[in-house]
């Protein structure tokens, strides 16, 4: 019987263990060490190229641009400049307003769609999910470009309407304004909002809904008392996933926004481009990120209060 037995290494008493053996023993005994061992390449990469650069950006924002050189003395000059010139806070405020509108529009439009896939589609969920997600992965630049093609002076809408004889002159107000930015962004981020909402709807135990009906709720009451509250985590995730990246967008405003549609991202970009004032660009980024964070904290706080009241 013993000839096939799996062999085991010789017994080693702890006192005789070498350093390597001690490390191996520690690794074997500790799940945490084994986990972090596996995690270390990814974590190290993220620390080096995410945390470190963001930290450096913060440091940079306290320096100043001195013609072609950087003045490395610590100063709040960039920040005072931001608050002294109303144009920057105006642009930041406008960016937040545009992103906020985009977020609200996207989430409201996405919710029924997610609801439809979660509750109405039975056999072809996979097909629907793929249909919804695929455009999201494709080129952002091209999706924005498509709207320039649609809304342009000689674009799809204007030429189409003229062809149909509904207008004689191209409409000028449809491109190069904040509204064009909102609709373009809402389209570009549509899929991003659907997925988290769908996931939270799909997770809802269907028997809860049956219980609500059984206890006398109409479908509409049931939606507001059960479905909506339980899908709130998805709605919040969707809102954040749309809001945060759009605040800093500079592609869409540049393509379809015109002068009225300029957002803070365009200013930041120009600081790293033609205006060549990296420290001020860095401080604009830090201020924008802080503003975004404050907005999110306030949003989550309001949501918590609402939930407690419900």
């Amino acid at each position: 019987m013993t000839d096939r037995v799996v062999s085991a290494p010789d017994v080693v008493t702890p006192a005789r263990l070498g350093v390597v053996a001690k490390y191996r023993r520690a690794i074997m005994r500790s799940e945490a060490l084994r986990g972090y061992n596996l995690l270390s390449p990814t974590l190290l990469f993220m620390i080096l190229f995410l945390a470190l650069p963001l930290g450096l950006l913060l440091v940079f924002s306290f320096w100043t641009q001195n013609y072609l050189d950087i003045d490395y003395s610590f100063t709040l000059a960039n920040y005072t400049k931001f608050f002294d010139r109303p144009v920057f806070s105006y642009l930041l405020g406008k960016s937040i307003l545009i992103s906020g509108s985009v977020t609200i529009a996207t989430v409201i439009l996405a919710y029924p769609m997610a609801y439809y896939i979660a509750f109405r589609v039975h056999k072809h969920k996979l097909v629907w999910l793929i249909l919804i997600t695929v455009p999201f992965w494709t080129s952002y630049l091209l999706r924005v470009f498509a709207w320039k093609v649609i809304l342009g002076y000689n674009g799809v809408i204007n030429s189409g309407l003229m062809e149909l004889g509904l207008i004689s002159e191209p409409l000028e107000f449809i491109l190069y304004n904040p509204f064009a930015v909102v609709i373009t962004l809402a389209h570009a981020w549509a899929a991003f909002a659907i997925l988290p909402i769908y996931v939270s709807l799909e997770k809802i135990d269907r028997s809860l809904l049956e219980a609500a009906t059984d206890l006398g709720d109409t479908p509409i009451m049931r939606f507001f008392r059960i479905t909506l509250p339980l899908s709130m985590p998805g709605v919040i995730a969707a809102a954040m996933l749309v809001f945060i990246p759009t605040v800093g967008d500079f592609v869409t405003p540049k393509m379809v926004g015109g002068t009225d549609g300029v957002m803070i991202g365009n200013v930041i970009q120009s600081m790293f481009g033609t205006s060549h004032n990296w420290p001020f660009g860095a401080s604009l980024s830090i201020i924008s990120m802080t503003a975004i964070t404050i907005m999110i904290v306030v949003f989550l706080w309001i949501n918590r209060i609402m939930r407690r009241r419900a």
């Binding site: 990814t42 455009p135 999706r143 093609v149 062809e163 049956e210 924008s288």
Partner: protein
Amino acid sequence: MSTHTSVTGPRFGPLGIYAITYLAFVYIPVMFLPMFSFNDSVFIAFPLKGFTLEWYRALATSDGLIDALYNSVKIAAVVAVLATALGTLAAKAVTRYKIPGRGPVITFIMTPLVIPGIIMGIALLVIVNMLGIEMSVYTIGLGHLLVSTPFSMLIMVSRLEGFDKNLEEASQDLGEGAWRTFWRVTFPLSVPGIIASLLLSFTISFDEFILAFFLGGQDITLPVYIWGQLRFPAKLPVILALGACILAVSFVLVTFAEWFRRRGVQIKTSSGV
């Protein structure tokens, strides 16, 4: 599923109409690009003037296009492999081991998903500049790796959660070490996720514009090339043709990726055991 029909509703009600409209809203704008790329006119406007392949022919002779394409493919391929490797390792660590600080670690790795692209771009630009590294395809790849890794990790986490942790333990119990267990059990069971991650990371990198714009220096990728050409109205139809090609490639890759990814997850939830 059919036991809960009382809480579901008709498939083709107002909600169904809404869903179709929504899909149209998502797809139709994008479809104008391929449509006008075959239109025999320099102006992107109705009425359509007739069918032509002129713009596609012009693509082949465009200056710098081949270089940009080559850069994009090279970066995307390397990023796909590296992001999938990093994502898989991290996913295995958080799904298979009880590690302290699991939540914060996951949040940290996911942050690139919620940081505006421009801020990631300039942050990397600043550090690359301070380290005196010349900007090139490598720095673009670095940026793309940063945004692809979280997606890869998400895909791999759901894949690894989709099969019993005991399977890996059983392999060890039956005499295989960590490395063999990975190749004989974990890897074959993760293949759909790995393919999905490779395809998606490739597409993310291939289509990414903002980071490539900031970090490329003299090296340009396809999206940066397009951005540069947008200044010349006469070149728009050629850009439409290029865009149509990129969309077609992305659609195919992503459809495959999503199919692999979601099919895997569905198998897990439907088989139960």
